[in-house]
C-alpha cells in the first residue's frame, strides 16, 4: 500500500558542514528555500544558526537566514526529499550507510564530493547506490570555489544524472542569476573529471610553487586533460564531458587558483613541506591527496599510463622530490600528442 505523501515544500537537505556543504546550504537559502544542514558536531551546528557564520571553514562570511542545522540523519531523511551530500570521500560511505537506515525510494540523493573510494575505485554515486535504497541519484561538479560562490562571483556548475527529475529538483534551489546550472546525463564523466582534476591541481600547485611559468602550467593542464579524457574513455564516459564545465572548466580553476585547497597542497609540497604538515595548516580535506593514490592503484592494475597522476603520487606517497618527479615526466620519450603513444 502506498504511504501518504505530503506535497508541501520541503527543505533541501545538505550533509556536511565543510566549506562546500555550507556553501550549498547558503545558495539554497539565498534562493528563498529552506536548507537543513547536517553536521556531526553539535556545537558547530548550533554556532552556525547562532552566528549565521561557519567560522572554521568560511570565516567572515554571513550565511543565509534560511539555514537550519541538525545532527540527526533521521531528521534530514524525514523532512527532506532532496539531499545533497558533501562529505569527504574517506567517511562518505559510513555516513551514507547510516543515512540509508532512514531513506525511502522517493528520496533524491546528489553527491557534491569530488573523490574516489580507495580499494574499490567506486565513485561517490556508486556508494550512494550501494548503501541506500535510492535510485534517483546524481552528482554536482564544476569550477566551484566556495569562497567565490559566497562572494556572489558569477559562475556555474554541472548536475549530472540519468534521471531528468533529479536535474529539475537540483536546479530549483541552486540556479540563480549568479550561479548557472548545466545538466548532463554523463554521470560517470562528470564524477571522474571532478575527482581526477584534484590530483592535477596538486601538480599545478607544485609547478607554481617551484616558480615555473605559464608554459608549464598550460602543458600540465592540457596533458592533464588528456589523462582525464583517456581514463574516462576507458571507463565508458563521454569524451565531450571533459571539455565542459566539470572537466576543463574545473581543471583550469583548480590548477591556477590559490583558493583551491589541492593547488595549495601542491605549493606546499614544492616548498618541501610534508603532506601531513600541509593538511594540518589547511585545516580541511584536500581530496586530491587520497585520490592520487586511488588513481595510481587503478592505473597500475589496468596498465594505463597516467604520468602526471603518477608523478603526484610519487611526491605525496613515495617522498619523491617535486623537481625529480617533474624531470622524470619531462624526460619521457617524445610522443604523438593525440594518441598518447611513443613516436618510436
Amino acid at each position: 500500500m502506498t504511504a501518504p505523501v505530503t506535497t508541501a515544500v520541503k527543505p533541501i537537505g545538505v550533509l556536511g558542514g565543510g566549506a562546500f556543504g555550507t556553501t550549498l546550504a547558503h545558495l539554497t537559502g539565498s534562493n528563498n528555500q529552506q536548507a537543513l544542514l547536517w553536521m556531526r558536531n553539535a556545537d558547530r551546528a548550533a554556532a552556525i544558526v547562532r552566528d549565521r557564520a561557519n567560522e572554521r571553514y568560511l570565516p567572515g562570511f554571513k550565511l543565509s537566514e534560511n539555514i537550519e542545522t541538525t545532527t540527526s540523519l533521521a531528521e534530514v531523511a524525514e523532512r527532506c526529499q532532496l539531499i545533497l551530500v558533501a562529505i569527504p570521500s574517506s567517511s562518505f560511505r559510513t555516513v551514507v550507510r547510516d543515512l540509508g537506515d532512514h531513506l525511502r525510494g522517493d528520496h533524491v540523493l546528489v553527491s557534491a564530493t569530488k573523490g574516489l573510494e580507495r580499494g574499490t575505485f567506486a565513485r561517490m554515486t556508486d556508494v550512494l547506490r550501494q548503501e541506500t535504497c535510492c535510485l534517483k541519484i546524481g552528482a554536482i561538479s564544476g569550477p566551484n570555489l566556495a569562497v567565490e560562490i559566497l562572494r556572489g562571483v558569477p559562475g556555474g556548475t554541472v548536475i549530472a544524472s540519468a534521471y531528468e527529475e533529479v536535474v529539475r529538483m537540483v536546479e530549483k534551489p541552486l540556479h540563480s542569476p549568479r550561479f548557472r546550472i548545466y545538466a548532463s546525463h554523463d554521470l560517470l564523466g562528470v564524477e571522474l573529471s571532478g575527482a581526477v582534476k584534484n590530483v592535477l591541481a596538486i601538480a599545478g600547485g607544485i609547478a607554481r610553487g617551484m616558480g615555473f611559468g605559464d608554459n608549464t602550467l598550460a602543458m600540465l593542464i592540457s596533458r592533464g586533460l588528456n589523462e582525464m579524457t583517456r581514463l574516462g574513455a576507458i571507463l565508458g564516459a563521454a569524451p565531450e564531458t571533459f571539455s565542459g564545465m566539470a572537466g576543463v572548466g574545473d581543471l583550469v580553476v583548480t590548477a591556477f587558483s590559490e583558493l583551491s585547497r589541492n593547488h595549495r597542497v601542491g605549493r606546499g609540497l614544492a616548498k618541501g613541506k610534508s603532506v601531513e604538515q600541509i593538511l594540518e595548516e589547511l585545516g580541511q580535506v584536500a581530496e586530491g591527496v587520497p585520490t592520487a593514490r586511488v588513481v595510481k592503484e587503478w592505473s597500475d592494475a589496468h596498465g594505463v599510463r597516467l604520468p602526471i597522476c603518477q608523478g603526484v603520487y610519487e611526491v605525496i606517497y613515495e617522498g619523491a622530490k617535486p623537481a625529480a618527479a617533474l624531470e622524470k615526466m619531462l624526460s619521457l620519450p617524445a610522443m604523438w600528442e593525440a594518441k598518447s603513444t611513443d613516436i618510436s
Binding site: T2, A3, G105, C133, L135, E165
Partner: protein, 538 residues
C-alpha cells in the same frame, strides 16, 4: 489467457492504445493518421511476400478498407480505423488458454521425448508415448524454487531466462508445472505454431503469437500493452530478456528491456487502481544443456554476422522434425540433464525480494517499492524515469544471469581445449584460427587435465568472491569425468564430431561448435587460468 479474461483484455488493450495515441498526438507526437499510415506501409510490405492464406487475406481486406477510408476520414473516423486495426492485431496476439486443456497437456508433457518430438506429427507422438522416459528425470531444477513458489501467490511473476534453444519454452513450461506453478504467459515466434498440434499445446500452455515479420509500430504497441494487461490481470509472464536465442552460446550480456518495462507499467497501474496484490516480481533463471539442438546453426549465424544477429532464423534444426527426434533420442540415451537454475527474485527496480514478498536494499533493509513511482503525491508514470528504472532492473537481471550460470561437462571441456589451442597460436587472426586450428596437432591429454584442474580452481575463486553462485558446476568437477562425459556427448548428435581423442591427444573436429560450447564460460576472465597469455581475451 483464460476465456473470460480474453475479451476484456482485448478491449482494454485497444482502449489504452487508442487513448495513448490520441494523447500523444495532442502533445505533438505521432498523429493517429500517421500511425495508421505507418501501419499500412509496413503491413503492405509484409503482405507482398506473404502467402495467400486465410489469415493474411483477412489482413489484406482490412488494409484495403483502411487505405480507402483513411484518405477521406475525419479525425473521429481515423480513431475508429485505428480501433479496428488495433483490435485485429490484439485478437491475433491474445492466446486461447483453457484450463481443461492445460490439465490434459501437462499430463502429456512429462513424456519428455514425446514432448520434444511432438512437432513431428500427432501420430508419431502418440505411438511413442508408452516407451518414452519421463522428462522430469532429465530436468534438474535448483535455486530459489521455494521463493518463486511463494511469490507466485503474492503477486505477478516475470520469469526472465537465458535463451539457447527453441526447446527452452517447452522445458520451462514443464518445469513450472513440476514446481506446482500455474502456466506462464509468453510470446512465442510464429514458427513454434507451425505444427497444428504443437500450436494447440502452445496456446493452451499460455503462449501467445509474436510475428516478428510484422514491423509496424502499432503491432509492437499491441504486444507490449497485452503483456502489461496480462500482468495486471495476475498472469505470470515468461520473457527472454536476450530477445532471441543467443547465437554465440555465451550467457547474455545485451538485454532487451521491453517486457521488464511492461512489468513496471503494470505495477504502477496496479497501484493506481488500488489492487490488493500490486507487486511484480522478476525472477531471472538460467537454462543449461549439455548439448544444444540448434548449436551448429546458431554459431554459424553468430560468426557470419560477427555478433550481429540476423534475428529470424526460419530454417534451423527446430524446423526439421527428424533432427528433433534424433536430438531427443541422443539426449535421453546419454542421460543428459538439463539444468534450470532459479535466481533470487527482484522487484521492478532491481531490489532483491524476500520470500515474504518484501523488497530489500543491498544492506538487507526493507524497501517500500511504491515510493519509487510517486509523482505529484501518488503513484504515476514518468516515461524518462521509468525507462531508467527498467535499465536498473535490466542490469540486475544481467548480473543474476551471469552469476548463476551453470557449466556442464561439454562447456568445461570445450573451454579448456579451446583455450589450450588458442594459446598455441595467439597471434593468428581469429577467423583464420578457427579455420586452421586442426593444423596445431591437437593437445596432449595431460595438458587438458591440468587445464581443467586450473579451471576448477579459478571457478572456485569466483565462487568465493561472489562473482559466481555456490555451485556453477552442478554435477561435480572431476577432470577425468568431465573429459569422458564431454567426449561422450560431443561424439554423438552433432553431424561433425566436436572433439575426438586419438591416443594421448585430443583433436578438434568442428572448431565452430567447440567455440560455441566454450563461449558459455567467456566473460569471466577465466582464460588466463588456462594460459597467462590469454589474459584479456575477448
Amino acid at each position: 489467457m483464460k476465456a473470460p479474461d480474453r475479451e476484456r483484455a482485448i478491449v482494454e488493450v485497444v482502449d489504452r492504445i487508442v487513448e495513448t495515441t490520441r494523447l500523444e498526438a495532442k502533445s505533438g507526437g505521432l498523429s493517429v493518421e500517421d500511425l495508421l499510415a505507418d501501419t499500412l506501409y509496413f503491413e503492405q510490405q509484409r503482405l507482398k511476400h506473404a502467402p495467400r492464406d486465410r489469415d493474411n487475406n483477412g489482413y489484406r481486406k482490412l488494409y484495403s478498407n483502411l487505405r480507402r477510408g483513411l484518405a477521406r476520414a475525419s479525425v473521429s473516423e481515423q480513431v475508429e480505423l485505428l480501433r479496428q486495426a488495433t483490435d485485429r492485431f490484439a485478437r491475433e496476439v491474445v492466446g486461447k488458454f483453457d484450463p481443461r486443456v492445460y490439465a490434459f497437456t501437462t499430463r502429456v508433457l512429462p513424456v519428455g521425448a514425446g514432448l520434444m518430438v511432438n512437432a513431428v506429427s500427432p501420430l508419431s507422438l502418440l505411438s511413442r508415448l508408452p516407451d518414452l522416459p519421463n522428462l522430469k528425470d532429465q530436468v534438474v531444477i535448483r535455486g530459489a524454487t521455494d521463493t518463486l513458489r511463494a511469490l507466485s501467490d503474492k503477486g505477478t511473476v516475470i520469469l526472465a531466462p537465458t535463451h539457447l534453444s527453441n526447446l527452452d519454452s517447452i522445458v520451462l513450461g514443464f518445469s513450472l508445472f513440476l514446481l506446482g506453478l500455474p502456466p506462464f504467459t509468453y510470446g512465442a515466434g510464429l514458427n513454434l505454431f507451425s505444427n497444428p498440434l504443437l500450436s494447440f499445446f502452445m496456446h493452451n500452455l499460455g503462449a501467445y503469437k509474436v510475428d516478428r515479420r510484422k514491423q509496424a509500430g502499432l503491432y509492437k504497441r499491441v504486444l507490449k500493452e497485452y503483456a502489461t494487461v496480462s500482468m495486471e490481470y495476475g498472469y505470470h509472464n515468461l520473457f527472454f530478456p536476450g530477445g532471441t536465442r543467443c547465437r554465440s552460446g555465451a550467457v547474455e550480456t545485451h538485454l532487451k528491456l521491453g517486457l521488464l518495462g511492461c512489468g513496471l507499467q503494470a505495477y504502477i497501474n496496479n497501484l493506481k487502481h488500488g489492487k490488493p496484490q500490486p507487486n511484480i516480481y522478476i525472477v531471472p533463471c538460467t537454462l543449461s544443456y549439455g548439448l544444444v539442438l540448434e548449436a551448429a546453426t546458431l554459431i554459424d549465424d553468430h560468426l557470419k554476422a560477427a555478433g550481429k544477429s540476423r534475428y529470424i532464423i526460419e530454417d534451423d534444426e527446430f524446423s526439421k522434425p527428424r533432427q528433433i527426434l534424433n536430438f531427443a533420442t541422443e539426449l535421453i540415451s546419454l542421460d543428459a540433464r538439463i539444468v534450470l537454475n532459479i535466481s533470487e527474485p527482484m522487484d521492478p527496480f532491481g531490489n532483491r525480494v524476500r520470500r515474504d514478498g518484501t523488497s530489500e536494499d543491498s544492506r538487507g533493509r526493507p524497501v517500500d517499492p511504491s515510493r519509487y513511482v510517486i509523482t505529484n503525491g501518488g503513484p504515476g508514470h514518468d516515461l524518462q524515469r521509468d525507462t531508467e528504472y527498467t535499465r536498473e532492473a535490466g542490469r540486475g537481471v544481467m548480473r543474476a544471469l551471469r552469476r548463476d550460470a551453470t557449466f556442464l561437462s561439454t562447456n568445461l571441456l570445450a573451454f579448456a581445449t579451446f583455450c589450450l589451442l588458442r594459446s598455441r597460436a595467439p597471434e593468428r587472426q581469429f577467423f583464420r584460427f578457427l579455420r586452421t586450428a586442426e593444423d596445431l596437432g591437437g593437445v596432449p591429454m595431460d595438458e587438458v587435465y591440468l587445464a581443467l584442474e586450473r579451471l576448477r580452481d579459478a571457478l572456485q575463486e569466483k565462487v568465493s568472491s561472489g562473482e559466481l553462485g555456490a555451485t556453477p558446476v552442478p554435477f561435480g568437477f572431476d577432470p577425468q569425468t568431465v573429459v569422458s562425459d564431454g567426449l561422450k556427448y560431443f561424439g554423438t548428435y552433432h553431424t561433425h564430431e566436436v572433439l575426438a581423442r586419438r591416443g594421448d591427444r585430443l583433436f578438434p573436429g568442428d572448431m565452430k561448435l567447440l567455440y560455441y560450447y566454450h563461449n558459455r564460460l567467456t566473460g569471466y576472465g577465466l582464460e588466463q587460468a588456462i594460459d597467462e597469455r590469454l589474459r584479456g581475451a575477448p
